[in-house]
């Protein structure tokens, strides 16, 4: 009897311990932390990013459908206006059915920041910060930082000019250095602190004027393709509000490596 239970214990331990110690979930990969200089860093200095697990793919229509089935308060007829504007899930047939025009495994879009944040929290995850997202997304297929490569930048910029990529199934773009798909080439993605981008009303200016919207230093310094592509993303983030639900804006989640929980 004792040896029988002993065996079970050993088997369970072998199965479970590797899974729980990493706290990593299915379809996530490790992005090893490091330092980099983002376009809008802290006083243009190096930013340190800790290691994290990132979803390999953006959250899909089918996954989000399951979420609203499980959590009725995020259905389009139920969601508080404080948390999502009228465009939330705009093209859905009804509360729990997404549009027939979209594939189940295409990225979910038209979701607000509050909804995206809540989705990740229900999975025991969170949205990536701007720095974390940019850090993971500066990789191409072979290197962790491809920002100086012409091909990489051309790829991103040509995507910015392509419409309807949100109709493609996830995984239609390249697999990057970390094993992550679709950071570029599918949908734009929410970040946790998207509202840390200041393109207006900044503390060093006395008055907020539209003429100062794209503050000179940043625009003039953006002298190459690399900065141009990143600049588009930062400008976009700086121009949106948390209630907005935009048809090419989706999200994915990440998880801290050392969750001290």
């Amino acid at each position: 009897m004792n040896s029988f239970y002993g065996k079970i214990v050993t088997t369970w331990l072998c199965l479970i311990i590797p899974l729980t110690t990493l706290a990593q979930q299915k379809n996530m990969v490790l992005v090893k932390g490091g330092e980099f200089i983002p376009l809008y860093g802290v006083d243009s200095a190096t930013v340190k990013v800790n290691s994290f697990f990132m979803d390999v793919y953006p959250v899909t229509n089918a996954e989000y459908q399951q979420f609203v089935i499980d959590h009725p308060k995020w259905r389009k007829s139920k969601v508080l206006k404080l948390y999502a504007d009228a465009s939330y899930l705009a093209n859905w047939e009804n509360d729990t059915t997404f549009s027939k025009d979209f594939l189940p495994d295409a990225p979910i879009t038209s979701v607000s920041w509050f909804a995206a944040k809540s989705y990740c929290e229900y999975q025991g995850k969170r949205l990536p910060t701007v720095d974390e997202w940019e850090y993971a997304a500066m990789a191409d297929a072979v290197s962790p930082d491809a920002r100086k490569k012409e091909d990489y930048n051309k790829y991103i910029l040509s995507w910015y000019e392509t419409s309807n990529t949100i109709k493609n199934p996830i995984g239609s773009t390249f697999k990057n250095y970390w094993g992550i798909y679709d950071l570029h080439g599918a949908a734009w993605e929410w970040t946790l602190d998207f509202n840390s981008v200041l393109i207006s009303g900044e503390s060093r200016k006395d008055v907020d004027k539209d003429s100062d919207l794209f503050c000179g230093s940043a625009a003039v310094g953006a002298s190459d393709l690399m900065n141009y592509a990143a600049f588009m993303r930062y400008a976009f983030r700086g121009s949106i509000k948390a209630q907005y639900s935009i048809k090419n804006l989706g999200f994915r989640c990440i998880q801290d490596v050392n969750t001290n929980q």
Binding site: V9, T20, L80, K81, L82
Partner: protein, 196 residues
């Protein structure tokens, strides 16, 4: 049998330490709250008097809100001055239904003690004035609601939008004014119109 109990204990421990914690559905109370009300936010804050406060505790008053941090040298003193200016221009009979709320974007530095000192230094220590600090993520969320953007740019300094927001008694955003030292006539009128 000893092994069996060890087995049970281990399994229990493993499962309870599992990282995949699901949040409990927060019970939806206060059904009569407007959908746009900030009183829907479940966050809990600490005041300058070290008192735990939920936003919905403020229901019933007109709120004039701003996000600041106390170690700020440039914009915040002017934002604070703007708040005091608004307060001073309100007729006395209206004031008792108005609360001036200053929410810290630097909760790490702005402890309740620090907020209290700041309140006293700036003669904003009457019941009219409420200073709040919350967790980093609740602060980020609250800023998102107010459309206030901010970023830590050095250990002591933040960039942030300078926005004064006015909420009605039900916590709905009624008026916002962006900028420093701007004409506050409209803001004052909005408050007077709301305060009974």
């Amino acid at each position: 049998m000893k092994n069996l109990s060890v087995f049970i204990i281990i399994i229990t421990l493993l499962f309870s330490s599992c990282g995949n914690k699901k949040k409990q559905e927060v019970a939806e109370t206060n059904k009569e709250l407007s959908e746009l009300s900030i009183y829907n936010l479940p966050s809990v804050w600490t005041s300058q008097n070290n008192k735990e406060t939920e936003l919905k505790d403020l229901r019933g008053d007109v709120l004039v809100m701003v996000m600041i941090y106390t170690s700020c040298q440039v914009a915040c003193p002017r934002l604070v001055a703007d708040m005091r200016d608004i307060e001073s221009k309100l007729p006395n009979e209206k004031k008792q239904n108005v609360k001036f709320v200053l929410v810290s974007i630097d909760p790490e530095t702005d402890t309740p003690e620090r907020l209290k000192e700041f309140a006293i230094e700036n003669e904003m220590d009457s019941d009219q004035w409420l200073f709040l600090r919350g967790s980093e993520s609740d602060t980020r969320e609250f800023a998102a609601v107010l459309a206030v953007n901010y970023k830590k740019i050095s250990p002591m300094d933040f960039s942030h939008s300078n926005i004064i927001s006015v909420f009605n008694q039900e916590g709905e955003l009624v008026h916002q004014k962006e900028g420093l030292g701007v004409n506050n006539g409209e803001t004052i009128q909005a408050i007077i119109d709301l305060a009974k």
